[in-house]
């Protein structure tokens, strides 16, 4: 069942890859592919956290703003003279705190995740602008660029980070209590409660993890841009959600996988890279990506109906 669920997105990705290889000689080059990898790594890392959130039946609309605020705080700490590893911790920690706050509001105040994160989408962005007075942080040391632009063994460093995060997240989702409880909560929160699952604790943890991964993505983004932009990451939340959904995640919860999300994010990445290479109007790119999201979910519904029994 799960295999089949991932087959369609995977086939789409392969077909897209082959089609682009044939269509343009500029596609299958080391330079182009590493640039695709760098571009998608940020969204991909965010989408990993989003996968966990969506599996629980929740949503996190605030990740774009969290990305902005954590990148900004990380860069500000560099500017204040902190070494890069400390700055990295500041960035990731800011993301974790933002996510934790989301989780606490959702579980302790019992507010719908959509509403909470819609609120913090605005609030975190506003906070970033207040703290930075709307100005980007410049003058970062060259060494900082390694995170987003460096290579390790010929492969972009951010891709290594993504791979590490994806493996860990896959294990968490498939082989730990946290992952299992996330599926249980997303499939039927009441049944999980009746089974004695500590729901509030696990839900809070899920949002905190999503925030933490976004913090990491924020530092990579800041490193790519070599600035701490308070406005970074606007609209990224929707791309992250799209990646999860294209990869078979269900917004009603209980479904989703790391492999699916990776495929989803790469499909989006290839679509925009391909249209750039083929010189397609960037406005049309948006239309295409929107169509792909709807087609992916529509086909998945069709599959479910076909295999549904009475």
């Amino acid at each position: 069942m799960r295999r089949l669920q991932q087959f369609l997105p995977f086939a789409t990705l392969i077909i897209l890859f082959i089609a682009l290889t044939i269509a343009t000689p500029h596609f299958l080059t080391v330079i182009n592919l590493s640039s695709v990898a760098r571009q998608t790594a940020v969204i991909n890392i965010m989408a990993l956290g989003m996968t966990l959130v969506i599996v629980t039946g929740g949503i996190d609309l605030s990740v774009g703003s969290i990305l902005g605020i954590s990148g900004l705080f990380g860069c500000m700490s560099i500017q204040a003279g902190q070494p890069i590893p400390i700055a990295l911790c500041v960035g990731i920690g800011s993301g974790l705190l933002c996510g934790l706050l989301n989780g606490l509001m959702i579980t302790r105040l019992n507010i719908n995740p959509f509403i909470v994160t819609l609120g913090t989408l605005e609030a975190y962005r506003g906070l970033a602008l207040v703290v930075s007075k709307g100005l980007p942080v410049h003058g970062l040391p060259d060494a900082f660029s390694y995170l987003g632009d460096g290579n390790l063994l010929g492969i972009p460093f951010s891709l290594w980070i993504l791979a590490a995060c994806a493996i860990v997240m896959h294990l968490v989702l498939e082989n730990t209590k946290l992952g299992r409880y996330s599926f249980a909560i997303g499939s039927n929160v009441s049944a999980a409660y009746y089974a004695g699952v500590p729901i509030k604790f696990h839900l809070t943890a899920v949002y905190a993890i999503a925030g933490m991964l976004t913090g990491l993505a924020g530092m990579i983004e800041a490193s790519r841009l070599m600035t701490g932009q308070p406005t970074a990451g606007q609209g990224y939340e929707l791309q992250a959600i799209a990646a999860v959904v294209i990869g078979g995640g269900s917004l009603t919860g209980g479904e989703g996988s790391v492999v699916g999300t990776l495929i989803g994010a790469f499909i989006i990445g290839l679509l925009s890279n391909g249209s750039d290479l083929l010189g397609i109007n960037p406005y049309w790119q948006q239309v295409v990506i929107g169509g792909v999201i709807i087609a992916a979910v529509g086909l998945d519904e069709l599959r479910k109906r076909r295999f549904a029994t009475a």
């Binding site: 209590k177 249980a184 499939s187 009441s190 049944a191 009746y194 699952v197 500590p198």
Partner: protein, 499 residues
């Protein structure tokens, strides 16, 4: 002949739900449609009501070949269905639901709510129901919701009403009310198809019966020609050896001691459960039996009073604490509270006790599957394997998963809230057998049931509740009349006294 179905077939994703469905219904009769879960009763009726389309066979309505692509088409022909799980819009009022889709619209395209309410009031009072047309439907009891569906069907001017297990969520009194309505409908020359698998109720209502088994009609004829045993044999396909009756066991230590519990309308409840005991909890709908289970499972902690579990004073404040101290609840509404339908059987079974199948915080999936297989075999859960999704199973098998997860957790005190609701005879026996096995292995069991024959069959002793209080205790071999005497309000207890 009003309705005639011959050789109806229906497949879902390659699985045959109905292979050879045959049924003939005349005007003014109550036709019982019986069969175990998964026999194809609901599927066949959904085809009649236009919710599914048949893959083969013929359907005649008043002698004309028909097929309905939409429920509205069937409704236009006078066929209405009263569903097992209420298909009403919870946020709308009773009146709005009765006329849903057929609102009388004024010239200005506004829905005339006042007129709607009045029309609904007329339909309700004509049939002698007690229902407030302005009430929001999600505030109604299951019985109330059913009345709304019946009113809707009557208001549509239907000539064939299909009841899909209407009494499975109703109390005794409400069941009698539904029967009264059904008989009244027949006197008006309406035909009723009545799906049920409760053997107790059928003789007081039906004229003829059609039995389905494994997607095919195996018997059709007048009810009076059939003995109870013959009917069961038709449904199950083999003779049921004997009606299960538990042998008495000497009770062991006290596993649950409840003292002076108050919560909401529950007043001063005290009782004990011993190891090896199955104690029935009887009473009318709304007597507070489910509420009591909720208190004991920590869902609604008591306002005062104490609960002692396995010798320890632990009044649980949430299900987690209840589970940790060895209490299990098999809830009344298993689809909402008992199971994650989208997840595999194995996942559901291990959910309360993941530690048992993990090492260093990581799940050992092989152990999990082995464990699930063990309990699948023990409870005879019929499935393609432990990875099958729980939502794909029949009601009886789903209930067995809910039970299996608590057996696997090693719970000591089991609260069964209406454990046999909506499950077929075969599964029912297996649930009772498992309860017996649990009691023998030293667990204490409290079983809530609205079906008195079931309480008499299974329980060692029976507690009875009325209006939030325990009104008495009876031995297991008592009579239905004794239980009702304690459960029903006293004769002279009039409305005036209450006010």
């Amino acid at each position: 002949m009003l309705l005639s179905l011959s050789h109806i077939q229906k497949n879902f994703g390659g699985v045959a739900a109905l292979r050879d469905g045959n049924l003939e219904v005349q005007e003014g009769e109550v036709h019982l449609l019986m069969g175990e879960n998964g026999a194809g009763k609901s599927t066949m009726m959904k085809i009649v009501a236009g919710l599914h389309q048949r893959d083969g066979g013929e359907m005649l309505w008043r002698g004309q070949p028909v097929s309905f692509s939409y429920p509205s088409e069937a409704a236009a022909n006078g066929i209405a269905m009263v569903h097992q799980e209420s298909l009403l819009a919870g946020h709308l009022t009773v009146a709005e639901n009765i006329f849903l889709g057929r609102e009388s619209v004024s010239k200005t395209a506004w829905v005339n709510r006042g007129a709607l309410t009045e029309k609904a009031r007329a339909v309700i009072s004509e049939n002698g129901f007690r229902l407030d047309p302005t009430m929001r439907v999600d505030r109604l009891t299951p019985a109330g919701k059913q009345l709304v569906e019946i009113c809707r069907a009557i208001a549509q001017g239907s000539s064939l009403l299909i009841f899909d297990e209407p009494t499975s969520s109703l109390s005794e009194a409400e069941t009698r009310e539904v029967f009264r309505i059904v008989r009244e409908l027949c006197q008006r020359k309406l035909a009723v198809i009545y799906i049920t698998h409760r053997l107790e109720e059928l003789r007081s209502i039906g004229d003829r019966v059609t039995v389905l088994r494994d997607g095919a009609t195996v018997h059709s004829g007048p009810l009076k020609d059939l003995s109870r045993e013959q009917l069961i044999q038709h449904m199950v396909g083999r003779p049921i050896s004997s009606i299960y009756r538990r042998e008495f066991l000497p009770p062991g230590d006290v596993l649950l001691r409840v003292k002076n519990i108050y919560r909401g309308f529950l007043r001063d409840i005290s009782f004990e459960l011993h190891a090896g005991e199955i104690v029935g909890l009887g009473g009318l709908m709304g007597a507070g039996r489910t509420e009591l289970c909720r208190v004991l499972f920590g869902l609604d902690p008591p306002e005062s009073g104490t609960v002692e579990i396995c010798g320890k004073q632990v009044t649980p404040r949430n299900p987690r604490e209840a589970v940790a101290s060895g209490v299990a609840l098999i809830p009344e509404d298993r689809q909402h509270n008992g199971l994650a339908l989208k997840l595999p059987i194995a996942t559901n079974i291990t959910m309360p006790d993941l530690d048992r199948v993990s090492k260093f915080g990581f799940l050992k999936k092989r152990d999990e599957l082995t464990l699930a297989e063990t309990y699948r075999d023990r409870l005879r859960i019929r499935c393609s394997g432990p990875s099958q999704l729980a939502g794909r199973l029949s009601g009886g098998n789903q209930q067995k998963i809910v039970i299996a997860k608590w057996v696997a957790r090693g719970a000591r005190v089991f609260l069964f809230d209406e454990p046999t609701r909506g499950i077929d005879i075969g599964a029912k026996q297996e649930v009772f057998e498992e309860m017996d096995r649990l009691a023998r292995s030293g667990a204490a069991i409290l079983m809530v049931s609205s079906e008195l024959p079931e309480l008499l069959q299974v329980a060692d002793r029976i507690l009875v509740m009325r209006e939030g209080q325990l009104t008495g205790e009876l031995p297991g071999r008592t009579t239905q009349e004794e239980i009702m005497r304690l459960a029903a309000p006293p004769e002279n207890h009039s409305m005036i006294e209450n006010a």
